[in-house]
Amino acid sequence: MTKKDLSLLVLILVVGTVVALINPRFLFVGNLSNTANQVGLFGIFSIAEAFVIIIGGIELSVGSVIALLGVLFIDLIVNHDINWIAAVAMIVAAGLAIGLIHGTLVTRMRIQPFVVTLCGLLIYRGAARYYTEDATAGFGFGASFPMLEWLTAGRTNVLGFPLPHSVVALAVVTVIAWVALHRSVFGRYLYAVGKNEEAARYSGISSNRVTISAYIICGGLTAFSAILIAMYTRSISPAVHGSFYELYAIAAAVLGGCSLRGGEGSIIGVVLGTVLLQMLQNLVNLLGIPSSLNFAVMGTVILAGVLGDQYLVQRRHRASAAKGLGQTSVAAAPLGRAKAE
């Protein structure tokens, strides 16, 4: 756990404590379980986004992909009576394919990731709307896939806590992503390509292949979360479903220490970033803050947290300078901080 992750954790605990003091219902099992469920849903595609950000790219089509694949998934199992296991496989395959296309356009055709994925954002959203003729896709009343529903949207009682399965999914994804990013050779290449693509190429790393892999992983994970989200909402209005989610994902990644210049970020940080964002949403409703202030509260808490962290860092810096001690290491740059001098 890096210092940056730790700052974020402290911020989460502080906000949580304050909320719990004002409204103890915040800590009720049901509420925690609901918030955890949201974290599970949003965490997976935030991790997906982090992969692309780490290699110095960006993926703006997350929300549209969630809408398109969600619509297709529901359509497959509800209207085409396809076995849900096959449907899951098809949707994930579609996600991987989208990632492959994005990665290829970025590397082989050398189009800026922002342009590629912006076009993705527009095209997939349009495709979803056109396919459904703008109608909401849903299960309708009584439609039931007990096994699938239990797996994706169910909760299991663990020591009295109804643990949402989306959290289990996030946990699995987190562990795998953590090992892949922080312990494997592949992860090292991701960071290397993100930091200095030229140097990576000179070191014999196929930066194109690494970049494409990052987009493929992102696509696959996004598809997976699209299924979970579809099963949670059980209804998808193609015009709005998942819109802005790319911003959530990027925000979680950036809060978690990713830099949009690439080469930085930790998986734990991204998950903590998601937790913070979801907690803020929960807080607004629990404290009876007017919904119109929802966004403002989120923004203010994030900004205050980052500022406070930055303030402490600078003070520590100055204190150590005054005492003539060694500085804090550059690598432990704090939460949201631009970069070392």
């Binding site: 049901g30 009343f141 909402t233 059980r234 015009a239 819109s243 919904s291």
Partner: protein
């Protein structure tokens, strides 16, 4: 004291002036319900998931009753049931008939559409091409209104040739009207399906100097729409009565929670009919609106 008051929440499907009127109704009800705390909730986005989350949080916070305008009632049934199992649930605006909600209070969008269709046929005795404008063409209320219009004009020479969507972006809403005027010089009537569409139509036609050449039919009670009706440049507008939903709905809910279930019919459906506002009755309507919003 405040902490002991039971909370009743009115959860809408997105922010708009329309709901301000309902909120006014709710505030009137609040005056008559001292033992309850009435809250009005706008989800930050018009998405089922976001709305669901607001309701989950309200239940977690211990709300005694929730009245909701579901974003996607057809597919939200199960989640609505989840809410209904933990608190008293009313629906409004758009019903979820298969859910375990206690009652629905609102209007029928299809009926409203039919009223607008009648206005169109009346305004264009010789027929003509019409284009509609709407925020989210896929949303149920939009679909039902369009359906109602089409049903009524079927057989007449009035045609609804296209409905343009704008994602509730005012700039696009206005530009859509401009583009249609450019693309279809022979259009003879424009219909604003969402509350803000009609004022945008009015402004574009005014700027183009075509106010009296092209008929405008609207929905809802935007001040500019009403001004146009009064001026005679807008044929008429079909309004709902959200004030009544907020007022009656909250009182019914409080009664229900208090054990008095008499106000709720067997099928649970309470229709507050819409009104057609034309030049003849616009003044009355405007003054009564003023009255409502003052409180």
């Amino acid at each position: 004291d405040a902490a002991d008051k039971k909370v009743l929440a009115f959860v809408v499907n997105g922010a708009s002036d329309f709901w301000k009127i309902a909120e006014a109704g709710m505030k009137k009800a609040q005056g008559e319900l001292p033992n309850y705390e009435l809250q009005f909730k706008y989800p930050e986005q018009a998405a089922a998931a976001v709305q669901q989350r607001v309701m989950d949080d309200l239940v977690a916070a211990g709300a005694a009753g929730i009245m909701v305008s579901a974003v996607d009632p057809k597919n939200q049934t199960e989640q609505l049931n989840k809410v209904a199992s933990q608190t008293v649930l009313f629906t409004t605006d758009s019903d979820a008939p298969q859910s375990k909600r206690v009652a629905y209070i609102g209007s029928s969008n299809t009926d409203l559409g039919k009223e607008a269709g009648k206005l169109m046929v009346k305004a264009l005795p010789n027929g003509g091409k019409c284009v509609g404008f709407v925020g989210l063409p896929g949303a149920d209320n939009a679909r039902e209104r369009i359906e109602g219009v089409k049903e009524t004009i079927k057989g007449s020479k009035v045609e609804l040739v296209d409905v343009r969507g704008d994602e509730i972006d005012q700039t696009r809403a206005k530009r859509n009207v401009e583009d249609i005027l450019a693309a279809m010089p022979d259009v003879s009537c424009l219909v604003g399906f969402y509350s803000y569409n009609t004022p945008r139509i009015y402004e574009v036609l005014k700027e183009a100097g075509k106010l009296n050449k092209i008929k405008i039919i609207g929905f809802d009670e935007d001040p500019i729409t009403l001004g146009g009706v009064k001026e005679g440049t807008i044929v008429g507008t079909v309004v709902q009565q959200p004030f009544e939903w907020g007022y009656q709905g909250m009182k019914l809910m409080a009664n229900y929670i208090g054990g008095n279930k008499s106000g709720i019919p067997a099928n649970g459906i309470i229709i507050v009919p819409g009104k057609v506002i034309e030049k003849a009755n616009v003044d009355d309507f405007m003054s009564s609106m003023k009255q409502m919003l003052k409180k």
